[in-house]
């Protein structure tokens, strides 16, 4: 991919409501044609940031530059964007066609031009025959497609999506997810989507902006966010993770319980003997059946399977580690492996880890992490 120009630049955006700091010094560059997701728990400021970009809220300080133009204090009407809300916000008393044409009519285009454009957009929304219906006669997913068509009617340079899928049922959500992404790629429109659903963000975005308490925790591609979370918050908010207490032994060596392993990537981050938190994804834990005749190395921890959670293609295996005072460790094991090793509750296992995948943070910073269950 060749480097593209920055389409939208946010510099040092801050916003407070009374004494509550909703956003603190947000800096962000978005490239032309990019699909960016703002991801974070509710109250993290992601919607506020979107509304500031739209001009629906005003930042207390900072600058917004869209397409080389400073729009920091430009009225919403004068900005160039289309927006879609969770509630669809379709005008209930206007037909679908009138809804899509709402902005076009105001531009005083000829009625035949408008008609053609509306037909084109209805086609785009996959609802070519619904022009004469009213919003109330369509399903939630259909309404959201129309809201999207309406937002795209004026061919805006920027598309803003405020939790567009949250009000839909699970099947519709997945279907529309793909549709929106395909449409966005076809039209090449720069898009920002706010969501609290990590799966949505991981599947749709070119880049994800993870936010928490009004600050940006990390900006990166879905792979970077998932595989190289740069803070305990990101590690525990995106995906399921085991948080294990351990200590740094120096020279890139770490210990959890009786297990020692090398993590050269984290060599310089900690002083010797410092206590750390090791973040391990369930899929980075490997299980072997602990058979009495096999003598394992003394450094491999043993455990007992406390519980199995069947999740279709794979299983979450919850393990009580022997002789260690730690919470249950979760391992994600493909179902065929479960079958092969006859893993079941009560079975004895030996644990192994893929140290290269571990993310290690100082024990102090870990206190900020949220308890997050994988969806």
């Amino acid at each position: 991919m060749e480097p593209r120009a920055d389409y939208l630049v946010l510099k040092d955006i801050s916003k407070s409501f009374g004494h509550f700091n909703a956003l603190n010094n947000i800096n962000l560059n978005i490239k032309e044609g990019e699909f960016v997701c703002f991801l974070g728990p509710s109250g993290c400021g992601k919607t506020t940031l979107l509304r500031i970009i739209a001009g629906l809220e005003t930042q207390n300080q900072g600058q917004i530059i869209q397409h080389g133009k400073d729009i920091s204090y430009v009225k919403p009407v004068k900005r160039d964007y289309g927006i879609v809300f969770q509630s669809y916000a379709l005008f209930p008393n206007l037909s679908i066609a009138e809804n899509i044409a709402y902005g076009l009519v105001n531009r005083r285009q000829s009625s035949s031009t408008i008609k053609a454009r509306v037909a084109e957009l209805l086609q785009l929304a996959g609802l070519p025959d619904s022009g004469d219906k009213y919003p109330g006669q369509l399903s939630g997913g259909q309404q959201q497609r129309i809201a999207l068509a309406r937002a795209l009617a004026m061919s805006p340079g920027l598309l803003l999506l405020d939790e567009p899928l949250s009000a839909l049922d699970a099947l519709e959500r997945v279907r529309l997810r793909t549709e929106i992404r395909q449409l966005q790629q076809r039209l090449g429109v720069t898009t920002i989507m706010v969501t609290h659903d990590q799966e949505e963000a991981l599947t749709m975005a070119d880049r994800i902006v993870v936010m928490n308490h009004g600050v940006v925790e990390q900006i990166g591609t879905p792979e970077q966010i998932y595989l190289q979370p740069c803070s305990p918050f990101v590690a525990s908010f995106v995906g399921k993770v085991n948080v294990l207490s351990g200590s740094a032994l120096g020279a890139g060596r770490f210990r959890i319980g009786i297990m020692e392993f090398d993590c050269p990537a984290w060599l310089d981050k900690f002083s010797d003997g410092e206590s750390v938190k090791v973040y391990l994804r369930p899929e980075d834990i490997i299980l072997h059946r602990d058979q009495a005749d096999v003598t394992s190395g003394t450094t491999k921890p043993r455990g007992t399977i406390a519980k199995m959670e069947f999740l279709g293609a794979y299983c979450h295996v919850l393990i009580q580690v022997d002789g260690a005072d730690m919470p249950l460790v979760t391992a994600a094991i493909p179902f065929n492996v479960v079958h092969e090793h006859e893993l079941k509750a009560g079975a004895k296992v030996i644990l192994d880890v893929l140290p290269a995948k571990a993310r290690i943070f100082s024990a102090k910073s870990g206190s900020d992490a949220v308890e997050k269950e994988a969806a």
């Binding site: 920055d6 800096n27 300080q61 809300f85 916000a89 209930p92 006669q137 925790e217």
Partner: protein, 576 residues
């Protein structure tokens, strides 16, 4: 917090700081005209509500010449025994009416909601009709029934109808529908599923009533009691007609101001009316918000089952109440059509023909029609636009909260107090708005202000029920706010708009309290004319005028029902 891993964080922070500093003055991207409208609304409420009420406070600590005398007016007031007794009288009447109406209306509402008795729609209609009549009507009618020449005079066993008994019976009539409406809403909010759960646990009927119905209707009961109490406490028309020598505060205010021209003392009495009203209103406002919290839970309506004994008891009870209410209304209408009660019962149109038309009093009726129309149109436009601007635009938050506060205040200000405040404020020679005094405009404005709160709350509820992002969407589509207002918001809220217009019209037709201070010979109003006619002993024409008002209000309500039905039919494709 770290934000490593970011691929394209701008490093040019100095630049950002400079811009932030220099552009702070544009911090609110509100449209100029939105700010202008907010100022206008706020200014209007301050001039036509806050200032007149504030002037009363001022007058109460001044003497006739405007010199500050502290609390002297209060001490002389409390020294007068007859005035002091008014306080007790008013409290007594208001308490008695509350204690009578609340259980009566609750049982009536219970019958309508929880029994399978026949004729529920008829009962409901009969019980709500008194809202359409001026409060004086009940007074006139009860005098005909129980007065010196009344046919049922003996029923009272020597007690005169002129006095507390008459006031209580009349107020019962006028305030019953107000209590009933609140209680019907409260009962309809009790979740039917609770009863199903209770029955499945083998709970007795009585225990279900005590543990589910009463707690569920608790806020409704308190709210209704406060409404009934303040209504009676402040009412002026009924005691004027049927009170005899039984003085109450509202009469004192009127007599001190109009009869004795002692404005300062009437200001003192006004404060005695205003304080409890404001107090009750503040409690009521809190309770209503709690009631609303109840409402947000999706209640399943309770479907009553047939129970012969209970249904019969309820039917008999509701019939008794309905007969009373009909007897009051019927007698007023009947009196307007007979020659002379009780001596000549020949039916005739004399009271309409000679009493009203040739007596030149019909003019007052047309004045009322004109005023009510202006109040309905002006009121609905003001209220709806003000509610829209305050609820759906952004910026100038302090102005907005002030408007919200002022918009709910009128409900706590008795009409008489408002009217007196208008005299003080607008009749002041140095007030540039002095030219409004004694005009139709001041009647219209005072009536809009007097009935502002309910209308405002209706408008806000309607606006809150539509999507909050319409304005944002239209901005993103480069469509100016006013276009979306007329093209989307008004059509969607049309049922509420019609409702507000009807409310304004009916109240403007029946009100006496504020306007009794403000009308001029040229702008006499129908409801005020009833007062004068009755005082002059022209009971027939007074009854005729009252009947005309009821008829007009009924017609307007029918028109409203028709319009709403046509509207709902035409828009049923998108309304659900």
């Amino acid at each position: 917090m770290s934000s490593s891993g970011s691929l394209s964080l701008p490093t040019n922070r100095v630049d950002g700081h400079q811009t932030a500093g220099s552009s702070r003055r544009y911090a609110q991207p509100t449209d100029r005209w939105v700010q202008l409208l907010l100022l206008l609304i706020c200014g209007g409420l301050v001039i036509f509500l806050l200032f007149p009420v504030a002037v009363i406070l001022l007058k109460s600590v001044q003497d006739k010449d405007g010199a500050f005398v502290g609390l002297q007016q209060f001490t002389t007031y409390f020294a007068s025994k007859s005035l002091r007794s008014s306080i007790l009288h008013t409290l007594f009447v208001a308490t008695a009416v509350t204690l009578l109406v609340i259980p009566a209306a609750f049982m009536f509402a219970y019958g309508l909601m929880r029994s399978c008795m026949p004729g529920k729609a008829v009962f409901r209609t009969i019980a709500l009709i008194p809202i359409l009549a001026p409060s004086l009507l009940a007074g006139i009618s009860l005098v005909q029934w129980f007065g010196n020449q009344g046919i049922l005079k003996e029923w009272l066993g020597g007690i005169s109808i002129y006095g507390p008994l008459g006031i209580i019976l009349s107020e019962f009539y006028g305030v019953f529908p107000h209590a009933l409406m609140i209680l019907l809403t409260a009962l309809s909010l009790v979740d039917g599923r609770l009863y199903e759960v209770a029955s499945s646990l083998g709970t007795s009927r009585w225990r279900r009533f005590i543990t589910i119905t009463l707690p569920g209707a608790k806020y409704g009961l308190i709210s209704a009691a406060l409404v009934v109490f303040t209504y009676t406490f402040n009412d002026f028309g009924v005691p004027k007609v049927i009170g005899g020598n039984f003085n109450v505060l509202a009469i004192d205010v009127y007599q001190l101001a109009i009869g004795q021209q002692d404005f300062n003392k009437s200001a003192v009495v006004s404060l005695l009316l205003l304080t409890p009203a404001l107090f009750a209103f503040a409690i009521d406002l809190r309770i209503r918000s709690k009631l609303k919290a109840h409402m947000s839970v999706r209640a399943q309506t309770f479907v009553p089952k047939k129970r012969l004994l209970f249904d019969t008891v309820m039917f008999v009870y509701c019939s008794v109440i309905a007969i009373y209410l009909l007897a009051v209304l019927g007698m007023a209408i009947y009196s307007s059509f007979i020659k002379l009660w009780p001596y000549n019962l020949t039916m005739s149109l004399d009271h309409y023909k000679y009493g009203l038309v040739e007596g030149g009093i019909l003019e007052a009726y047309f004045n009322s029609l004109k005023m009510a129309t202006m109040v309905a149109i002006g009121g609905v436009a003001t209220v709806f636009i003000a509610a829209y601007i305050t609820e759906k635009t952004k910026g100038s938050e302090s102005l907005r909260s002030l408007i919200r506060l002022l918009a709910v205040l009128p409900m706590g200000v008795p009409g008489l107090v408002l009217g007196l405040g208008y005299i003080f404020f607008f009749n002041h020679p140095q007030n540039p708005l002095n030219m409004l005094y004694h005009t139709m405009s001041i009647l219209v404005i005072s009536t809009i202000v007097h009935y502002y709160t309910s209308s405002h709350l209706t408008a806000v509820t309607a606006l809150k029920s539509i999507d909050n992002e319409f304005e944002a969407v239209s901005a993103s589509l480069k469509v100016p706010l006013y276009k979306t207002f007329f093209r989307v918001t008004v059509p969607v809220c049309l049922p509420a708009i019609l409702d507000i217009a009807r409310y304004f019209f009916v109240n403007a037709m029946t009100t006496v309290s504020a306007v009794v201070f403000l009308y001029s010979p040229d702008t006499n109003l129908a409801a005020v004319a009833i007062l004068d006619l009755e005082e002059a002993g022209d009971v027939g024409p007074a009854a005729a005028m009252a009947s005309l008002i009821v008829l007009t209000s009924v017609l307007v309500c029918l028109l409203y029902a028709l319009l709403t039905r046509v509207l709902l039919k035409r828009t049923q494709a998108w309304r659900h």
